[in-house]
């Protein structure tokens, strides 16, 4: 059952869809920063949330025509305080090249959120000033919120039994 309404609507050249009545815009990685700059001019001065999703085991999701599904998706929830509106931005990020431009220059508040996404999903943000792990220890291997990262994969160290 799908509730993604297919629309011909577009916002600054990026297709728009509606999920449960919430407006979602799907720019490509090339359009991403230019679109965000235009959105800021339109009043979306706050980036409430930046996160990502790993669609490894759920590839067939609904996307508007012209948007190719990739493994990762970076999701921004923007907020316009003056217009009292929310807008969601979903960008497809391929597995082979998991990088995307950083939003740090647009909203400095995304710094920690981008570090969290990098830590949890392994998506790199170009132009981020300090892209290090934020929640996991520095020497952690892997990115825990990826779907191919099993739960409880911490190696348990047993002492060798006396033979």
């Amino acid at each position: 059952m799908s509730e993604v309404a297919a629309t011909d609507e577009s916002l600054h050249g990026s297709p728009v869809s509606y999920s449960r009545g919430q407006k979602v815009v799907h720019p490509s990685r090339e359009q991403f920063v230019a679109l965000l700059k235009k959105l800021i001019d339109e009043g979306f001065t706050m980036c409430a949330d930046l996160t990502a999703a790993d669609y490894l085991t759920h590839p067939g999701r609904d996307l508007p025509a012209g948007v190719d599904a990739e493994r990762f998706e970076v999701v921004l929830n923007l907020l316009s305080i003056t217009k009292r509106e929310r807008l969601r931005v979903r960008v497809q990020v391929p597995e082979s090249d998991p990088t995307i431009a950083s939003c740090f220059d647009l909203w400095p508040g995304t710094e920690a959120m981008e570090r969290e996404v990098f830590d949890m999903f392994g998506i790199r943000f170009d132009g981020h000033p300090d892209l290090t792990r934020i929640l996991m220890p520095e020497d952690w291997e892997g990115h825990p919120l990826r779907k191919d990262y099993a739960i409880g994969r911490i190696p348990v160290q047993f002492k060798g039994a006396h033979s």
Binding site: S19, D49, R133
Partner: protein
């Protein structure tokens, strides 16, 4: 398995703040710019600061085991004498992977998980999770009136208990120990009400997708009224004890100042944003449930300092009292959860007599109810700011992906900005005024 070589290979770089001597000018500027968010020119000027050898700077760790860091927050401070030059919050000590755990729990079990994130306002966590799930299910408009008003009652009572604890810890951090005892005492009264309603003082798992776990117990109205009557004189007492007291004002006024532009750029919300004079409260500006039908004020500060944040929270307790009186007047009778067989388990009595009820009960509690494919973001006003829940469903009984927009996680980023140029002694006041909950920061 984790040999030293492996560590080197996988390390993405240090999280800690490095001493100036180990940093090149470019790196220092990058680090300072990242932490303090200033322009390149400003950062470069700051990089040249300790030129002469006598004015050496020192890096100290505050936390993770410091009593005033509200948990396991660790701050690295670069000090020149008593002045804070740089500050970097280092988090993750309480990270337990709750978002990963949430992918393995059904939507009905999810409440037990999210309620443990912001453990001082658990009902707000459950509320936002339930609202997101209901929106995905498409039943967000069908929740019975009584359930909606009960949710508002619990949410506001939770705001009171959370703010009372803030007043207590803020007092404790600044040496007002009597305030600490008073705050805990009043909060305990609210928690006693929660215990009577939900069975637990914290981590209630009471607000669930589709409604609530149970109806309000007999005598709840008297309990609420006794809290509402008890609080106002006590709040007056706090005014005498702290608000009007010169020592208290000296410690807080002009400390940890942040401007409206900075607060907006950093994405902060709740009392921190409102302390800068931005009148933004999701309850009023993007109303959910029935907040648009209620009469209450949004408390706004003007200086963006620690005192404003204290005063806002104190007065928000008063606003919550006002709101709860209105909720008491308007509390309707009716169902406390939606009568939708796919979401709500059948009543216990039906299970003995109806095969279908038994099957439904079994299916809901083992497999869980299926939620249609889609993704949704819902944000509400928690005591600490905007708490948001982003859920992706693949049509199964468990969320495919769940992310909580934690207000403390975002607000804590404002710390370096607030502390820059201040004194070490004020650092405690600044941390306290942000009111972070580390369970919410690290999840």
């Amino acid at each position: 398995m984790t040999t030293v070589e492996n560590v080197r290979q996988t390390s993405e770089g240090g999280q800690e703040m490095k001493p100036r001597s180990e940093l090149g000018a470019k790196e220092l500027m990058r680090e300072v710019g990242a932490v303090l968010r200033m322009s390149e020119a400003e950062a470069a000027a700051l990089g040249q600061l300790p030129a002469d050898a006598e004015d050496q700077t020192m890096i100290i760790n505050m936390g993770p085991q410091h009593p005033s860091t509200h948990g396991v927050l660790r701050l690295m401070l670069e000090l020149q004498g008593e002045t804070v030059l740089r500050c970097k919050p280092i988090i993750g000590y309480l990270h337990t992977g709750m978002e990963k755990t949430g992918e393995d729990l059904t939507f009905l079990q999810g409440g037990t998980n999210v309620t443990r994130m912001d453990y001082l306002s658990p009902l707000n966590n459950e509320l936002v999770f339930s609202m997101a799930t209901e929106k995905l299910l498409g039943i967000d408009g069908d929740i019975p009136e009584r359930a909606v008003w009960m949710r508002m009652l619990l949410s506001e009572m939770n705001r009171m208990s959370s703010h009372l604890l803030f007043l207590a810890t803020n007092g404790m951090d600044l040496g007002a120990v009597s305030m600490m005892l008073y705050g805990w005492r009043e909060r305990e009264e609210v928690l006693r009400f929660f215990q009577k309603v939900t069975g637990l003082r914290m981590n209630h798992n009471f607000i669930r997708p589709g409604g609530l776990a149970a109806d309000l117990p007999p005598g709840w109205r008297d309990d609420v009224l006794s809290i509402l009557e008890m609080l106002p004189p006590r709040l007056e007492e706090y005014d005498v004890l702290m608000t009007n007291q010169p020592i208290w004002r000296e410690r807080l006024q002009g400390v940890g100042v942040i401007t409206a532009e900075e607060a907006l750029a950093l994405g902060t919300s709740g009392p921190i944003l409102r302390s800068t004079g931005v009148p933004f409260d999701l309850r009023r500006d993007m109303p959910y449930m029935h907040y648009d039908e209620l009469d209450f004020d949004v408390i706004v500060g003007s200086y963006g300092d620690a005192f404003d944040r204290y005063a806002i929270r104190l007065n928000e307790v008063r606003e919550s009292i006002k709101i709860v009186y209105q909720i008491l007047d308007r509390m309707p009778s009716g169902d406390y959860r939606i009568q939708n067989k796919k979401v709500t388990p059948p009543p216990r009595g039906r299970i003995d007599e109806s095969m279908e009820a038994l099957i439904h009960h079994f299916k809901i509690f083992t497999e869980g109810f299926r939620v249609p494919e889609g993704e949704v973001y819902v944000g509400i006003e928690s005591p600490r700011g905007e708490i948001g829940c982003y859920i992706v469903s693949d049509g199964g009984p468990k969320p495919y992906c769940i992310h909580m927009r934690a207000p403390s996680f975002v607000n804590i980023q404002a710390l370096p900005h607030m502390m820059r140029g201040g004194l070490v002694a004020d650092a405690v006041a600044v941390i306290s005024s942000v009111d972070p909950v580390l369970g919410d920061v690290d999840r």
